[in-house]
Symmetry: D5
Subunit: 94 residues, 10 copies
């Protein structure tokens, strides 16, 4: 995969957990965080091209019930902590 | 590790890549995305307790030069896409 | 209890006192202030884990009628004034 | 004591813990929370009259280094969870 | 009377004069200004205690038709121009 | 006097009381409230014409130290509670 | 005429030209500009007293269909470019 | 002249009248209003082409001391109240 | 063509691609970008006069379904990169 | 080229034309519009990959003097008006 986006989501309060569960099963969505503060959910999305991100975010994700508003931050580049990710092969639980 | 935070960062424009590199090497920071839009960087941070997040974000990360403003979203819960993460042991490249 | 949150709430004006009363009886909610200014109510919530805060705030509290919008500030840490709290055993009235 | 205020504080990032410690020792300040999100600290203040709140917040608290901005929400009324506060005499740990 | 509040009100445009008239007759409301700019009405309210302000503002005033939004600024203290108010006994017209 | 304005003022925190005292002695300023919330002071100003308000607010008041920002709401009309103001001649205390 | 106001108007997009036409025929409204940017229309209004501006803006203008929101800026004073207005001929006073 | 702009200006408070006077003498500026509310001055500017507006606003007007911030609203079209402007005499076209 | 505008558009999420397609076929609209971030679409519009821009943007474009809000930035002037545009005759693909 | 971005720029007022000229000569920048309204300049940027956009925008463009703030909208997709662009080979002037 070659492009990544961070999607900041405001959701209907009574559907946050269900929505997060649904979103996390969509192809291209790798992680969804339910968070406290200015937003309700943060989703990490990966795809081949920017245009594919649009398909996943505007079409696939918005079919799920409960999204009130969202703002997409397309990543220029990803910087990973190698110490952390070296351990992924061994099975990391969080 | 038991708590996660998403940190939205505004940075000095001429230091974004250097800052992202430095942040991604801090213990507890797992990923840093340089992004287009309302923020400049998004960092994913993991720690044992909320109090440890404060130490990583307010002390360790803010020692790096270039952070203008930041807002921390502590995660209530993380929802992972099992299809994606099952593949991590095999070596995922992005 | 191990984690604390401050919840800033905007409420329907005609239901503020009733809502405050209901919220203050929810398990995990310790104090509710009806306030003047940018928000209508401020609730202090305590739980075992961040995930439990989500249950109390997004599910239990939002079952009460009258919440228009809310924003949760999860505490990294609590600093108590020992002089004040030493007196709690003797019965403090406010 | 007869009036209560919730003070929302933005602070200089490198001084949050020290500031919280100093504020929590000021007469009239009962609790200070360092928080994630739109604000950095939330302080609960109690006094005899509104005018005394001004003295504590605008004079005593602002002598401490590190406050960038603050907004005071004066409480109309406090609603306590009796189940929680009944237990205070017995020693509550958080 | 011992506490004062300034209430900033946004109102439905077609009801501003009628609303101002109604509000100015409520016990505890001393003056109402219809104004140009960010707000539509400014009301000065006086009461015995902060809790009484809540009753007047959230209950009595909000029974009047036409308030869209309001924000209450509780006064810490009032500073009067003695030259002006000395003349009040003689009958001031504005 | 024929025109009235409500001036919402943000002030330097360490000078609020001194500033309020100075402002309340300016010719044309009738009352100054130090308040909690989005603003620090609210001043009521009266003059003959709109142009005179500009002189009082932009020139006379801004000579005082401590005003950071201000916004003037010129009154279209004033609605007084006759019950309250009938009592002014007898000596009202707040 | 002795007082002037600049009214910034947000309008329903499909009615901007019709609304501008209607507003420009109201007694007291001298010019209406349909504009690009944060607002849709800017109207210049002149009247005898501030109270008359309220009548024109809140009552007469708001009877027209299509105003979504408006904010009135009452002029303290008008400064005309004499070179321009010298060409206007017989002498207009405001 | 064929294009018109409304320029909303925030100015340094102690220079508003002087600034308004200077701006109103610039070629292309027809009227300047010192106003109460969210802005300090409103200038009406006329020129041949949009590009000429840029010269007047960004270069000529900004040479004057005291402008803190400004936002230009270019007019799509001007609607004049013919009753008012009939009194202007020989016929001005914009 | 002599005047240009950049139109920033918020759209209904489920209609972004269809809306972009429709807008890009309107006479006067040269390019439409579906974008990530604070807005959903950016349209470049060219016309003879400012008044014609109003017709294209407020009438022709708003007939398309899905525009929630829009803000027009009229160009003072266009600066083209000659290296890029020299190549247009040869067929540039993006 | 495969990715496009729209960059919204706030600039120092006295340098807008010079800045626009400099930016329009940077490799990857195709068009720069000086505009009226909430922003001062809008730049269209094209590159091979998102990461290359970061280099052009954060490094190359920010070396130019006069940028105060900027926000990048990465395009998911570009929709061109074929009628317009068919004419490009023949030499279009604006």
């Amino acid at each position: 995969m070659s492009v990544t986006a961070v999607v900041l989501i405001k959701a209907r309060t009574d559907q946050i957990n269900e929505l997060a569960q649904v979103l996390s099963n969509i192809h291209g969505v790798t992680d969804v965080y339910s968070v406290a503060g200015r937003y309700d959910l943060v989703a990490i999305v990966q795809a081949q091209r920017n245009e594919d991100l649009a398909q996943i975010i505007s079409v696939d994700m918005h079919k799920a019930a409960g999204i009130v508003d969202s703002e997409t931050l397309i990543a220029f580049r990803t910087f990973r902590n190698d110490d952390v990710h070296a351990g992924f092969a061994l099975g990391q639980n969080d």
